[in-house]
Amino acid sequence: MPFIPHTNDDVAAMLDIIGAQSTEELFQEIPASLRITELAGVPEGMSEADISRLAQQRAAHDGGVVSFIGAGAYEHYIPAAVWDLATRGEFYSAYTPYQAEASQGTLQLVYEYQSMMVALTGLDVSNASLYDGATAFAEACLMAVRANRKSQSRRVVTTRAMHPAYRSVAQTILSNQGIELVELPIRNGTTDLDALAALEGEDFAAVCIQQPGFLGTIEAVDEMTDQAHAANRLVIAVCNPLALAVLKPPGSWGEAGADIACGEGQPLGIPLSSGGPYFGYMTCRKSLVRQMPGRIVGRTVDVDGTPGFTLTLQAREQHIRRSKATSNICTNQGLMVTAATIHMSLLGAEGLRRTAARCHANTRSLAAKLAQLDGVSIAFEQYFHEAVICLDQPVAPVLEALSAHGILGGYDLSDDYPELGNAMLVCATDARSEQEIETYVTCMRDVLAGVQAV
């Protein structure tokens, strides 16, 4: 019996204490009309050896490819120590630190995590994380609507330069509360500033700026931030935290800095893993901290005056305020934050900066080489570590042909951005070698020649 430690003698002794004849009797309060005695549709159990073998067979279908897809999830080298430490049982099998004295490991780690996110984003305070980048963005919009005292508006300005899935998730979550997202068009791969200027005089709770944008491009963050503040709108920065090792932090945007920063924490030591678990980060100005959703850890002292850590500002949360809480969120993504904190400690500022710069250089190199091929061009000149590549033919068949060669050549933009024509988004992170980049370019040349020959 997997994981059940009881001997027959134990069971007999336990039933005796309870005063029951059988374990069956313990379920007598379930009405007979509802009782079942077997689970049709669930297969019989397997041994650990058999399930491992089955998993190996399944996994064998999925490996063996070299990926140049980014689009919100990035393959970076993760030091061995990160997950070795993060999966220690004391981290892995603990729960939310309700008993602070018995959870100082997790609590101190989260405090260190909060400190690092404050350093990266240049804002004052951080929470203990949210589910992922998309939900962090949705929560940031909700927070801005609550927090902006100068505006009564339930509208938020967003942009087509932002990740399409983030906009879609925010729509799912915000529409139920009657909050409207107003989407600006793009021009040259970035938010159309004329369209933003045309909203002058209108009341909005906040303006969202993704830096770098979904298309890898660089937004005019200073100008956009100042303009938003002049119109009494809060600024929500959505940033790749690895990019922030080299890009201007949200806290320094414009005259006053962004008000809230959030984004996908995955590039900080979290494997791709088919899309999750990742974590969303969120930082903000100190004056907004009571409107922030999610767990927050603070440093305090114990009865002897020894410094220690505890969950704080819990009056915001659902277990205290119930229907009046800032959010229904209960957990954070603790294990992911554990890994990210260890990852940032191992790399340090210099390691993160070099990794970010290598991603930039690798993608520049890949894009430049691809652009030398006939019928291939780079759409926008300035980008961080993702480039929009345009083809003179539909993208999908080309990506399919590359995939047959074991190369995942990029993310097809035709569905999300038909206005860009035959376009795809390519990304070469630090995990890609020069040789892999060469192989991609060679394959692309062959595929384009082959497709044209047909």
Binding site: F27, S93, V125, S274, H360
Partner: protein, 490 residues
Amino acid sequence: MKEPLIFEYSLPGRRGPTHAPDTMDAMDGLPADALRDELSGLPEVSELQTVRHFTRLSQQNFSIDTHFYPLGSCTMKYNPRVCNRVAMMPSFINRHPLGPEEHGQGFLHCMFELQDMLKAVTGMTEISLTPMAGAQGEFAGVAMIRAYHLARGDTERRQIIVPDAAHGTNPATATMCGCEVVEIPTMADGDVDIEALRGVLGPQTAGIMLTNPSTLGVFERKIETIAALVHEAGGLLYYDGANLNAILGRALPGDMGFDVIHINLHKTFSTPHGGGGPGSGVVGVNERLQPYLPVPIVGRREIKHGNDQYIWLTGKERPQSIGRLSAFMGNAGILLRAWVYMRLLGARGMLRVSEYATLNANYLMARLVQAGFQAAYPERRASHEFIISLKDIARETSVNTMDFAKALLDRGFHAPTTYFPMLVPECLLIEPTETETMQELDAFVDAMVEIRDLALRDPEEVKKAPLSTPVRRLDDVRAARQLDLAWPGR
């Protein structure tokens, strides 16, 4: 022993990021005003310092792997190592979420099977795996209920009924979905007050959120009556799967009349709690709510003369869906762990889960009652958890539930859930789970008795607890008033 902050080990120039490129490439493709001048505030430490620091921090935690952790409503059962090993297989962890379906057939096949198994254990028609935690599953569920009513032109149904014993996420979720919360009382025997329910049902009713067995640790015996009443009034029933462990293979929420359910895979299906997540709050629905399920969902396409192909179903196939809840498809790696656990246990193993979880809870309750503790619902069978009220001891000795909790830490046990549900004064909600031995439960009873005896003899001594943990009781008021949320040394 105190462990310094990682920043306190840092010395400028002690770099050697062996895990990063050995040179800094030029950022020459970007305008200078987009770049940052410097990045300070991250530690400069060696790999050994990092390993020691985080190993020491881990040793300051209680966890399932180190301590009995009877945290009620959280199902802190053993997390099998093999589940983690499978989820961390290179082909699984390196798979890009936007990679083509043909390079993800292994993963998608597992997910399709997981959906099927979850249908079987809940009695629902279809499952969406995308919600990333219980609270997000709740959001999805209530949003689907709203979408259902709106699609029928039933725009006035905005009230969600919640028993007063419910978890705080239930009312918070209803608010997030733009609904109004109506609380109904619980009877002295722990069941929902049916007359009170009748009194609040009406054309404004969107639905009811119930946990069964409830947060009071008892099975709601009148569930069929409740379902009939709510459906007659035009409302729908939401099942909060927090306590599914208690009835796994014994009864199906679908049979009870629930229209939508969320399941906490980190409880019943043993995925790790990770110090507070990641969780997974997959949702299941009956036919009524099927069109509104959040996307993506894993589908199967039958191919002639060959293997079936597993595919993503998105908004294109499901135009009435409430939409996406995550950038990709939720906590995929957690879903894989649950798949391993369910395949390992199989149908019979799952029946044993509820059997032994219930046996352990009833045994522990009986032992504590025999030792003189007061059960909140002594006439009822415990489900997989039960409530002890310490209100008499607290009155006699001034030692309260919090003191008991801290004294348990000193005796090597994580405390049960305290002061929840709020309905029962001075309560401990105790959930031993099926993976604990009788001998461990006996040791817990001994510790409870020892604390009680000490409370009667020398209450001030109990109030000093904990004494053996890395810190003693913390000043929460100071934490909230003198906010220190980030290392100020930067």
